[in-house]
């Protein structure tokens, strides 16, 4: 088995692709890459289309290498990755809907994002076809057996959450199969980005998933900077990390409370909700927006941290340091709550590894991966933090990973505030000459976000693809719920907390 880097170098290397290499594959090397995925030597980081090309981002976890292979699709076809490596299935279905690229031999050719309402087919292909809206019924996978019944849920859910459809097949109380149908929030963001200037594309990137607006803006900005070869001032790099950790903190606090609430334990929800609100207010005081939206821009950050803002952040950290331990104790010592979370929604280690599941989903099932450490990016190489990993893979483990990450984020924020360098916070973007490509892998609160883009003529974004961690987590939720009772689904679902909007784009 060659190292990923040697494999890429052996191919026809594409110029001006940074920071990791991209190579044009032949059908033979494409198949070889699939084999490596199947055997578990490499992991799939993403798969996306262009009008006549399909790209696949690969991760070699041992060598800590990343690379992209691209295959030209003659007559719009390419050998399916999903045929042998299931994590690619939905990505291939999405590329088929958007570009009309057909994965040959794919076991599942049902449309995924295209529900038949757009009025066009293959909207991002060179030749877009208009099509009459046809909402043909979606064929769910069959389930057979005695006394099975189906429960359709969604797309409009009974709560303040995003839309998606869940089709349960249950035997009595026990879930035999869950099948998800997503795509309801598809807004065509990649289509809007193509041909936009960098400013507008950046704003769109920050609106892919509202809870990860910082992480998305950061991934987009880093990809642009990689493409254009821009060095960001160090104060901006540190401020970005501060924003990212505040976002992580707020989301994890919200999630811990909400998971407990789904086990009918409201007091945790109330206390965590109050802490979350304090973090959002501190973010507002520090940067001028509760969710810190539109404040990370290519070239730096758009908001300076003043003395008052730093004080607000320090005070919220002190407050959480004081209150959070009591909540952990409450979580850990309440038998009725543990009864719901321990052993529920178990995701096994092999599946987490096969799907390269990011974030707390992967780390609660033994996958020791965090983009802040590997491939790593500044300033995390200068900060002390630990990455918690558990093997149990149940709801409880996903709660504990979040608890540990809250603690780590508190420490990271303290370190950042203490060592924040001075200087400018933004540099101007150099004008691009000809096509340049860049990519980035950024750890959001939910897991690693992949950004890939090409900047073309006039400095406009020619193609930008952003892959949410949920692409590899949603299918695992289907596996984790199997054999659990229907009533535990909200609990399992919340413990995964996958993004709908980030996935549907």
């Amino acid at each position: 088995m060659p190292a990923l880097i040697d494999f890429i170098l052996a191919g026809q290397r594409v110029e001006k692709h940074a920071p990791w290499p991209r190579a044009v594959a032949t059908p033979r090397t494409w198949s070889f890459a699939i084999e490596q995925l199947v055997e578990g030597h490499w992991s799939l980081l993403g798969l996306w289309g262009e009008p006549i090309t399909v790209h696949m981002a690969l991760l070699d976890e041992n060598a800590k290498d990343i690379g992209v292979v691209s295959l030209e699709c003659r007559d719009g076809r390419y050998p399916s990755v999903g045929r042998l490596h299931a994590p690619a299935l939905r990505l291939e279905r999405a590329a088929a809907d958007l570009f009309g690229l057909l994965p040959q031999g794919a076991p599942d050719t049902r449309p995924w994002l295209d529900h038949g309402h757009w009025g066009v087919s293959y909207p991002l292909a060179t030749r877009v076809r208009t099509s009459a809206p046809t909402a043909s019924p979606y064929p769910f996978l069959p389930t057979e057996g005695e006394s099975l019944h189906q429960i359709p849920v969604g797309p409009v859910h009974a709560g303040i959450i995003e839309p998606g459809h869940f089709r349960f097949t249950a035997s009595g109380e026990t879930v035999v199969r869950l099948e998800e149908r997503l795509g309801y929030t598809h807004k065509g963001i990649e289509g809007l980005m193509a041909g936009s200037d960098i400013d507008r594309a950046g704003k769109l990137a920050g609106r892919i998933s509202g809870d990860s607006t910082v992480a998305y803006s950061l991934a987009f900005a880093r990809a642009v900077e990689a493409a254009l070869g821009i060095q960001v001032p160090s104060r901006a790099v540190w401020l970005r990390a501060l924003m990212a950790e505040l976002e992580r903190l707020a989301n994890h606090l919200g999630d811990i409370g909400a998971i407990c609430n789904d086990a009918a334990f409201a007091i945790m929800h109330a206390h965590c909700g109050a802490l979350r609100e304090r973090v959002l207010r501190a973010s507002d005081a520090a940067f001028g927006h509760r969710l810190v939206r539109d404040l990370i821009v290519p070239g730096g950050v758009a908001s300076e941290l003043g003395e008052e803002g730093a004080r607000a952040v320090r005070s919220v950290i002190a407050e959480i340091r004081q209150r959070f331990p009591h909540l952990i104790e409450l979580y850990d010592n309440t038998a009725s709550l543990q009864d719901r979370t321990v052993g529920t929604g178990r995701l096994n280690v092999q599946l987490a590894r096969q799907y390269a599941a990011g974030g707390y989903v992967g780390r609660a099932s033994g996958r020791d991966f965090d983009a802040r450490r590997s491939p790593g990016y500044s300033p995390y190489d200068e900060l002390n933090f630990e990455i918690a990993v558990l093997k149990e893979g149940d709801v409880n483990a996903r709660v504990w990973i979040r608890i540990r990450e809250v603690e780590q984020s508190l420490s990271l924020i303290e370190q950042i505030l203490e060592r924040l360098p001075g200087g400018p916070i933004r540099v101007d973007l150099a004008a691009a000459d000809g096509p340049r490509e860049g990519m980035a892998l950024v750890e959001g609160f939910r897991g690693d976000i992949l950004a890939w883009l090409r900047i073309g003529k006039g400095g406009l974004v020619e193609r930008c693809h952003l892959r949410d961690p949920s692409w590899f987590q949603w299918p695992l939720l289907e596996a984790a719920i199997e054999g659990n009772i229907v009533a535990d689904f909200p609990l399992c679902n919340k413990s995964f907390n996958c993004s709908y909007s980030g996935h549907d784009l």
């Binding site: 066009v120 959450i161 995003e162 929030t185 065509g188 289509g191 509202g210 607006t213 109330a270 609100e277």
Partner: protein
Amino acid sequence: MRKLLFESLIRPPLTERPPAASDTAVDELARALDGAAHKRLGRSLSIRAVDAGSCNGCELEMNALSNAFYDIERFGIRFVASPRHADVLLVTGPVTKNMREALKRTYDATPNPKWVVALGDCARNGGCFAGSYAVLRGVSEALPVDLHIPGCPPPPIEILKGLLALLEGVNSKSGPRS
């Protein structure tokens, strides 16, 4: 747990004073609502949230309304699970074409009298998503909208102001809905 509960008794509440209803929203509503609604609703308002393709930012801030700082239920405003129980549909997102049918069905399932509030900048006219093959230009392309609350996302206090305006609008006798 006992300690936490006891502390809650002796610590001052986190809940903040209610904001004044948003003036512009009151004006907007005065035209939209009639006195009959007042008699039916009293001082309570049941809201069904429908995400019609938002980025989830508006949902986060809507959820925040239930935390101790805003405590939205003290105003008689509740989020309900079914459109059958709702007076108001609070709709977010530019309305994706994939969600249009579900949104319409939710509206049809809501009993009269009912109001539609569009929440967030993209719910007004599609915002930064306008022009995409996959979205409409805001909620008003799918449903009649009574009130719009701007922001990306609107902070909880702004949502609260808008909803209070809706309540006041319902409670003040104004001309019938044209």
